[in-house]
Every structure is written in C-alpha cells, then in structure tokens.
Symmetry: C2
Subunit: 338 residues, 2 copies
C-alpha cells in the first residue's frame, strides 16, 4: 500500500511492455481485448492510478479548469454573493460530468491569470465569475484576449467578443420585472442598483425595466434610481436616499436579490408595509429570496444551465472548436413581495 504502483509494475505482471499497458489503460482500440482486460484487472488489483503529473506533462494538457471568483473587497466580510456560490455548485457538477478537475481560487485584479494558470500548465482554461467594477475588469479581459488565453466569463461581455460570455438575457429579465409590476397596477417606480457601464449586467436590467415602463408611457426620468453594488447594506442605503427625496414610490425593482433584501429591511424599518405600501422585486432567485419575509418575487437565472454552458464553451475553446454567444432566458418568479 505504501509504494505507488507504476505502469512498469503492471507491465511486468501482465507480461507485456509498458507501452501496451499505457494503451490498454486508455482503452486504445489497437490493443487486443484479452490483453486489455488482463491489464485492467492487474491495475485494479494494485490500486493503480495513472500519475496525473506525468500524464499531463507528456500530453501538455491538464484536464483541469480554473474557476476564478471575484472577491469584492468592498463587500461584507468573507461573504461571497450567494448567487456565485450557486454558480460554483453547478460548475463543479458540470466539470465532474466531463472528467475535468476544477481548481478554485479568488481572483486578485493584480494577478496575471494567464501566467498563473496556463503558463504553469495548472489548467487548460479559466472561468471568470464575478462582479466588481467592469471598467477596471475590462483591461484584464483585453489582456487575456491578447495572450490568447482560453477563458469564458459569466455576465460581462468582452469588447467585440461576445462569444466568450455566457449570461442571462438581462434586458429581457428587466422587461419581465417591469411588465409584471405594471400589470399589478403600480405607478411610481424606483430602480436600485448601478446603472452604468461600470456594472453592465445591472445596466441591462435597468434598460429592460425602462423599456417596459416606456411602453406604458412612463419616462425614464420619472423612475427614481440610486446606485448600489450587490450587498444588503448598499440596498439599505440606496432606498433610504430615494425615500428621503419625498417622491411617492409604490414599486421598487432591485438589480439583485441581495440588494432587495437590504431594501426590504430598510423599508420595514421606515415603517412601510411590503407589498401593501411598496412592492419589491429582486433578480437572481438566490435561496434567501424564498426565506425572506415576505418572500421575494424575483427574476430567476438558471445557474444550472449556466454552469454547463460555461464549461462546455471553455472546453470547446480549448479544443479549438467554434463557440457562439449565448443568452440564457430569465424567468419570472412571483412570490409575496409584489
């Protein structure tokens, strides 16, 4: 049990050459059935496993993908946005299905991702997951492009290269939220979340939202808006600023569920009833959304599909196959908050 068996040990016991063992173990069609089975039997008996490092070194391929999670230094201590955790789960599952190992790490904007993963042969490609200021982020993406790194990212579009991004149709999601609130008869709207190129996903949600309201004759200027990054506290602060302006508000669409949780908390403390006085909608459908009181209506992102597509597309890139830009259809989830 102590000394690891090598392919030479198996070759000796099976009475064949080491090359044949290697072929047999990878089920090469060139190898005789009987030989193959004998080799497999002995390998099993010896608890033999191909040495990944030797195999990778020879093949110049690691069968490993790296997942880089953006750790937002401004967000609540050690709290990863639950939405990303859900993505992490689906990506882990997708990798396992495709016999890929998954290296997980937090991104530092300062790192050279290409060097850290591809140059060192730790991983064949990189999956980028995370918010943060997109304007800062874009530079890094451009660099990855220039270095011909194999990478895909969630949400944010790489300039002129939409094919590297998997994301929800955020604009459509914003539209769904707007239409739903309109159908309920709400008239005075607010949007909480960044609405600029610094947060492209939030911006698209905002645009879809205003599209819907505009179609009902409501001008964007009549929609209260306040920036917020995706944390509970940012949502709390933002809605207090909006309420202080004294404009009547009866429905708030939040750029993420975490923001919505903070918004609901603040409205509650300010003495407003949800949804009787003010309706609230979120975006993501994280677990907390159905635990909140009242339960939160939201736009669901299909994280399971997203994980599969990210991994599939990355593997295609690594294999030099063509990929296409993809938008995942968001889904309206109606609960108590509106």
């Amino acid at each position: 049990m102590k000394d690891k068996a090598t392919s030479f040990d198996i070759a000796y016991l099976a009475g064949v050459s080491q090359s044949t063992v290697s072929r047999a173990l990878r089920n090469s069609p060139q190898v005789n059935n009987e030989t193959r089975e004998r080799v497999h039997a002995i390998a099993k008996q010896l608890n033999y496993k191909v040495d990944k490092n030797a195999s990778n070194l020879r093949k110049q391929r690691s069968s490993t993908l790296a997942l880089l999670l953006f750790e937002d230094p401004t967000s609540d201590e050690s709290l990863i946005n639950p939405f990303f955790l859900s993505m992490l789960g689906s990506i882990t599952r997708a990798c396992a299905k495709r016999s890929q190992d998954l290296l997980v790490s937090f991104q530092q904007l300062s790192d050279d991702w290409h060097a850290d993963y591809e140059d060192s042969n730790k991983a064949d490609g990189i999956i980028l997951l995370g918010y943060g200021d997109y304007v800062d982020y874009e530079e890094k993406l451009e660099k990855l492009l220039a270095q011909q790194t194999h990478f895909v990212c969630w949400g944010a579009e790489v300039h002129n290269h939409p094919e590297f991004t998997i994301r929800s149709n955020n604009r459509e999601g914003g539209r769904l939220a707007g239409e739903h609130l309109l159908a309920h008869g709400y008239k005075n709207f607010a949007f909480v979340g960044n609405a600029s190129e610094h947060s492209p996903e939030f911006f698209e949600r905002y645009q879809g939202f205003t599209d819907a309201l505009l179609a009902a004759g409501i001008q964007p200027d009549d929609i209260a808006q306040c920036d917020a990054i995706s944390t509970e506290n940012a949502g709390d602060n933002a809605i207090r600023q909006i309420m202080q302006q004294g404009k009547p508000i009866d429905a708030v669409f939040c750029a993420s569920d975490i923001i919505a949780i903070g918004v609901m908390r603040a409205l509650h403390q300010l003495g407003h009833k949800i949804p009787a006085d003010i309706a609230v909608m979120g975006f993501d459908d994280i677990p907390v959304a159905s635990f909140a009181t009242p339960t939160l209506s939201t736009i669901q992102q299909d994280t399971s599909l997203a994980g599969e597509m990210l991994v599939d597309n990355l593997l295609r890139l690594i294999n030099n196959e063509a990929i296409v830009s993809t938008h995942i259809q968001p889904k309206l989830i109606v609960r108590q908050s509106c």
Copy 2:
C-alpha cells in the same frame, strides 16, 4: 507569446546552466545574488512560469489540496448548505495564503478517494466536508486511515483518531443555547434535529442542551424532540409533528439554522408569534440567519478559523508533523427570535 518559455531558454539568455536557473528561481541560498537577479529578470521578461506538472512529477508533491464536499442526495435540489459554502470560502482563502492550489469536487460515497487524489498525485491530501449519515460515512473514514491517506475532516470524529477532526465544541454550543433560553424564563423546550450517532454533531448539540436544562432541574424526557436532517423542509415537518402532540412548547432549539428557518416558517403558518408565543434558536450563524424575520438568534461557528485550522493541520500531516485535536469555541449570537 505562443511557445512557452522553458528553463533552458532562460539559461541560454542568462548564460548559465539550466540547473542554476532552477535554483535561482526557487531562491536557493546557494546561488550568487547577481546571478539570481539576472535569472529572475529574464524569467519575468519571458513571462516564464515553472511548469507545474514537470515540477510536481519530479518533486512527487503537488502542492494541491482536494476539498470534497458531501452532496446530500436527500437535500433540496442543487442547494448546498450555506454553512458549507461559507467553509468553502474560508478554505479557499487559507489555501491561497499558503500557496496551495485547491481542487474542489463533490464527494460520492462510492468513490475511492485515496485512489482518486493521492494515488494519481492530483493532491497531497484531502479535506472532507459534509453531513450525511455518519454511520455510512465512518466506513470510508476507516478505509482512508488504513490507506494512510492524508486527510482531515470537519465535524465528524474519526473513531479513535480525534486528531484528524476540526470542529466546534458542539456540546458547549448546545449548553450556551440552553442557558440562554433558561435565562429568558422559558420553561417548555423542544429540540429539532437528529439526536443519534447518525449525526454526531447534532447529537452533541442535543447533549449540551440537555446538560443545561438538567442543571435547572428539567429532565431530558420532558424535552420534546423530533429528528430532522439539515434542510428547511425537514425542520418544517418536524416542528409540525411536535406541535401536534399538544404539549405546550415555548422555546425551540434547532440543530442548524436551516432547520430553524423551516421551523419558523411552519410556526408562522400555524399562527404562532415568534418570539412572543414561541422562541426559536438555531446553530451555525449562516447569512440567512440575520436576514430572516424575526432575525434568528443562534450559536455561531467560526468558519474562518475552521478553514485555517483544517488547512494547517492537513499540511502538517503531509509533512509528517504532529497534530492535535481541536475544538473551536462557539459563540452565542442574540437576535430577535428569542
């Protein structure tokens, strides 16, 4: 940019041997300062990174740890318990600090973890994280012991080998909860969660809870108890069963926060006010605990410290250094639910 530089390229440019390059890059003290700096400069210029596979193969060490998350097949679809996600975050950070890569995967009880990670040289050791039925689980742990796998686990004790486990002092945590509820004057108690060797952590929390109540003259038999695994629905079902028995209950201690969320939902639906009619406490202090309405009083586990200790102990094991059994002190967090 396309062809990766090797240590030979650097050697050529620096006018030294490849061995010297290797030494210089690892900052070996045997190497001349000036030579070292020249080598580093050229390496940087070429975007050189040591090939991990070659290096690992030669060193027979991967500087990689594997994190196996137990995926409970009975729990809500694709929902990892938020507590584990928080552990995942702290473990990721702890690994980064110690220059270890982290391979993440879901455990299958059927797999041969030793073979999958250590025999293949993918990882130097394994961190086990997860609930599930401990009686099934224990067999696997015994096998890992027999194979001399380098591993540590969270929560569950390995028979006769407490040193491989990092965990909270669950009994102490249960006691804190019991004493806190007693101090509030509650008299009729319930415990929701498995209380048997199938779930050692929950069992210890139960024991600490009964210790505290016994000290106040309340017999364990007078404490209502109903099994529940760590899901919202299990908590919901369990508390309904307890309430149906018709005994008066004014305080419920739940074995985990997720259970407590389900308990609060059910009590709310049954028309009970929390905490006016019935107080509720959880265990873990997951983010949801402070988002719930009312916010949930709970016993906090220090996941940040836990992650550090798991990684530290595993690295010690890998280096054949001594390790000691460790209990992390839990902390009472008082919120609105009691």
